[in-house]
Point group: C2
Chain length 163, copies 2
């Protein structure tokens, strides 16, 4: 299959300056503000975007190393196939985040709940539409179900220690 070439439409600005400081889970990004700075030539594509409360951003995991097909995520002791995880070290390192849109100012989007690294090249912006993007049937999340519980427990421990 042929290679595909994309040109970033802008860049993401967030307080997450280094991979080590990233939130472990998107819930850890709640309330965190950031911006998308768009290239001027795509500005016309933003018309009526401000009617949507949430966006799906596709961007490049630009600081990731080589792809790995097996990954042992944080808070887990077992290896999983990379496609069964959200780890950045994917064959095509494309990140996906659902964020809140707070405002549109010329070529700048004001965002909340950002969990991406500062400087991430932005590839696409899509409106989040529940009837397209949320399954109507029950959702199973495999190995992540146990990991969710572990993350919850870890937070609880920390709270007890520091409280």
């Amino acid at each position: 299959m042929n290679e595909v070439v994309f040109s970033p439409i802008g860049v993401l600005r967030t307080p997450h300056l280094r991979p080590e400081s990233m939130p472990i889970q998107p819930a850890g990004a709640r309330g965190v503000r950031g911006e998308a700075l768009l290239a001027p030539h795509v500005g016309d594509g933003l018309l009526h975007l401000d009617g949507f409360s949430h966006l799906i951003l596709l961007y490049v995991f630009h600081e990731v190393g080589p792809a790995k097909l097996r990954v042992t995520p944080f808070l887990d002791s077992q290896a999983h196939g990379v496609f069964a995880t959200r780890a950045p070290c994917r064959p095509n390192p494309i990140g996906l985040s659902v964020v809140r849109l707070l405002g549109v100012e010329q070529d700048r989007l004001l965002l909340e709940d950002v969990d991406m690294l500062d400087g991430s090249p932005l590839l696409d912006i899509k409106p989040f539409v529940p009837s397209f993007d949320v399954p109507v049937d029950a959702v199973r999340i495999g190995w992540l179900a146990a990991s969710h519980d572990a993350a919850e427990a870890a937070r609880s421990d920390a709270r007890f220690q520091h409280g």
Copy 2:
């Protein structure tokens, strides 16, 4: 900003052979079966994927024409910025669909609710995780709210005419 090069990890097989025969809305794809045929070298990345009921697929809108920044969608008379739509004619023509995973067989994923064109090059597979991918706050869908009603009305009309 520099260009980014991706290599497809596989190809999507669906009954939607031509753009004209595509479902207008993802709801029109409900129950439609398809497959993802993966390149053998990424097979190791599928471990434990079968624990997830739904996947997010990222793929290339491979039959799309040149990008347009203003789009007048089907069932609408007004132009919108392309980033406020899910139209394929985007600056970076990346498609995103949430599908059901029915089974994993070697290098083949059996899928349901497929709304993509047959032959679409597959870029990435991510597990759908409600706590990552569904906003906790209320969602507004801008101009699409009115269009939803129009689509509903159009279907109702057709039903009355053919019933």
